[in-house]
Symmetry: D2
Subunit: 283 residues, 4 copies
């Protein structure tokens, strides 16, 4: 298999961008496997995802660096990933374990190009099963009083392990703006409602009380504004008058799993760009 | 075809209700075709829909009246409909005509057991096509200044025609509490968002701005609290970063049509009971 | 919690069945929580599922037996389940483990009122993980030559353990008519296509080759006619020209999991009746 | 608004195609609005759809012709459409009129960039309503004996009107291989099942008899092999044991409408390429 590069570019729109990018790749011996782009005419912003294979002899790391330099030179923010590289991922989890198991089993089934390198939990409930999965597990207690210290400890671990992505798999704690800012890398969260409806706590109770006929789940990047981050993916399921809050919780688990799993997949395949608190998803 | 009755009952829960109701029907020569019930344990309320056929010789109207009396006697609010009866329906419409055409074509295709007896519009755009459909059409201008008079005129028409149901088929006006109270019969509205998200005006603009990945439509009974009425049905469709507000509007038209059409169908088949601002839908 | 009984009845239609059943329950101190029924007018068959609570002092086992006798006396095939009873279930699995993990995790999360008492596999791949799950695991090799012996061994184990339901969680072997007949209890299978399309082997290859835009999964009861058993549940997912056979396989795993999980749930909640190679699902 | 061109290209894969195409457009003063491509690695075929705007002064027709010549020169089958051009479309319809109304109302709502120039029917049922829609209507009786003559008459009309696309909106006749060959332009058909299941006649009866839990509709290009043409789009809806064949027919109407409507939309926006009896849909 020849090496494959995936670049994500974004920046001010200008004539000839597709031509410039594809021209560079052609001149540098690449063969475009797939390219997708989006132009937000109102905002005057251009986005592109391009995936190309290199000749067998070429040096993917050097080509990636050269492409990033080229991207800069045409005014585009550019990031290139190299096939085979496996970014390190940490899962934050509390006691609800359905998303946790789902993510790990998908990873073990080969669905995710990453390394799940660390599990952090404010409960000990998943310690034994983490050991069965052979993934390092760290218990860090979080209380109102210890939250700052706990986050400092979490951040130290993330840094030490070189974590590139945090997944909040129904981690029932809010990450502080300081945490998000210090970590400085993406954090994906799953919210158990079809945002913006029923933001905040106990969304299934809210949904039941309002008598809606659809419940939902929303995967989004975590931002300092709780439940306001850029939405990556959403799914819904039908509910009826027969369904109790407990039924909604159970049905919701299915939604949460598939919605988070898809969002993580897109992220790891470098399919997502964020701007103006929205996402462009090149699926 | 022997006559068929459909009863909707609701009231305080008590032991043996299913037995009492089915016993009465059996003793009165009926044969239950379908029965469904719901018990809200928390609220202590019981709901039932029961559909039964009568012997060929029987008098459906007398049996219906007798059953309503029986329902009262066991403490249940009871309403019986007789197969073949076609309640009169009025459609309120503005300029957006997709739900309007959809409802009328379904009716003409035999989907709705009703008579669409009246079209009321604050625009003249659909006058000619209403004539083609051979349905009486009434233009009633509505401005801030004339709203009270316009509603009085609408109410007089509804009364005169014996209208049992009003369908707001993207009628872009709010009906006043006085109108709803005076009419005293159900009014179904279609809202172009998955309520409670994006209540109020321009929901597609709101949805686009928030960057959601699903848009929705909600059919509900109109109540004095705008967009807060009991939800009957909801549907969603996927949207992506590529979709402009105009795309959302176009995709939304499909949702609005199927969602309103389904809600009207359930209402006309006497499948809906309302309590605590929610609906029980016996589908 | 007072004990709850769930009865499934089916038999020739006759007047007053709902009344007779609900009358019996009322007279025997029961309170109907939910009842649903279906009448196939063409076939002249009546189906009912009725769920009722007993007074605290009553003996559920005696009442269940009495009801079954009553059901017989009115000509209905009747089966009663008692809340809290947990039928023993065996999972047959090969190497594909997504449905296997999904079922067990749902069971551990409390979704299934049963005991997963046995795992039977023709591969050793899931031996260690079965031990982690603390579920007895039995490896039984199956080759063309040993199939009859293998099935005999399987049957002996099922009998010894008192298994009431077999779930084929992507068990890549066909169970012989003799096996099904000897076992004499339900076997649920998941087929990875939207039957009847693409029956037989390699359905994802067939789907890819035909260029369909939807792939599906079908949960059904196993019968001697391969892939022809009564369908319990079906789901589909969209695919596009971009999707390779491998993509279909991956997308299909999600479908297979949720479709099988739902079918098993309905079965264990006594919601399914079979007739004329179809299912009545009281969901 | 500056003129916009849309090109569809397909042909043997080769290195640098994206670069060549985007380079040509850039050098000829175009600005790419959107480009999408697909590479079938197994078949060694490359497909591209590219949409670009021209400078205000430019001549779209000349540029389109030049691009087609360029496409030929690099070995790609190339077709260019010019924004504002409205191809003429004929609808073939029988007595079932739901797709017929749906298509025409969408067209009148501005959803389709085409001219519905002709309605051909083997029944007179829709003559009056066609007149209301102000669309030329032609009744052509079709019997076994007259079929060849009828098709000759149809073909003459299509030629005379310059029809570019025929839509079979539940036209209950099979078009002969001779018709398809002589017409030589695309024909879109809607089949009322999720093909390849239940091909042929009475699919709703077949589905009801098999006891499936999903029914479907399939829009495809008509080919001499009945129901075997390249699939454009498919949708499904849930059904239950309660649904009669009539219910399936009614539910199916919704599916047929939205599935055909979407397929027509993609075709008219030049989003579809056909190869190996499959479609590439650049949606």
């Amino acid at each position: 298999m020849s090496p494959v590069l995936v670049a994500l570019l974004s920046g001010p729109d200008q004539k000839g961008l597709v031509s410039k990018v594809s021209g560079w790749i052609f001149e540098n011996g690449g063969n475009i496997i797939h390219a997708d782009q989006h132009r937000d005419a109102q905002a005057g912003v251009f986005f592109q995802r391009v995936e190309w294979s290199l000749d067998d002899g070429s040096d993917p790391r050097a080509t990636a660096a050269a492409f990033e330099q080229f991207g800069d030179s045409i005014g585009m923010k550019t990031k290139v990933a190299i096939s085979g590289d496996k970014p390190k991922v940490a899962i934050f989890v509390s006691k609800f374990d359905h998303c946790f198991h789902d993510l790990i089993l998908r990873w073990k089934a080969g669905e995710y190009p990453c390394e799940i390198a660390l599990i952090i939990s404010n409960h000990t409930a998943l310690k034994a099963v983490s050991k069965n999965y052979e993934i390092p597990y760290q218990y860090i207690s979080v209380t109102k009083a210890t939250k700052a210290d706990a986050e400092a400890e979490q951040l130290a671990l993330l840094k030490q392990e070189g974590i590139e992505l945090v997944i909040m798999a129904r981690y029932m704690q809010v990450l502080s703006p300081i945490f998000l800012d210090t970590f400085g890398k993406p954090v994906i969260n799953i919210h158990h409602s079809f945002l913006p409806a029923f933001a905040g706590a106990k969304p299934y109770h809210q949904a039941h009380s309002r008598g809606v006929k659809l419940i939902g789940a929303t995967a989004h990047y975590a931002t300092p504004d709780l439940d306001q981050g850029p939405i990556i993916h959403q799914n819904v399921a039908q509910v009826t008058h027969r369904n109790s809050v407990e039924d909604l919780v159970r049905k919701g688990r299915n939604l949460e799993k598939i919605t988070l799993a898809q969002a993580v997949s897109w992220h790891l395949e470098n399919r997502i760009l964020v701007y103006e608190n929205k996402t462009v998803v090149f699926d």
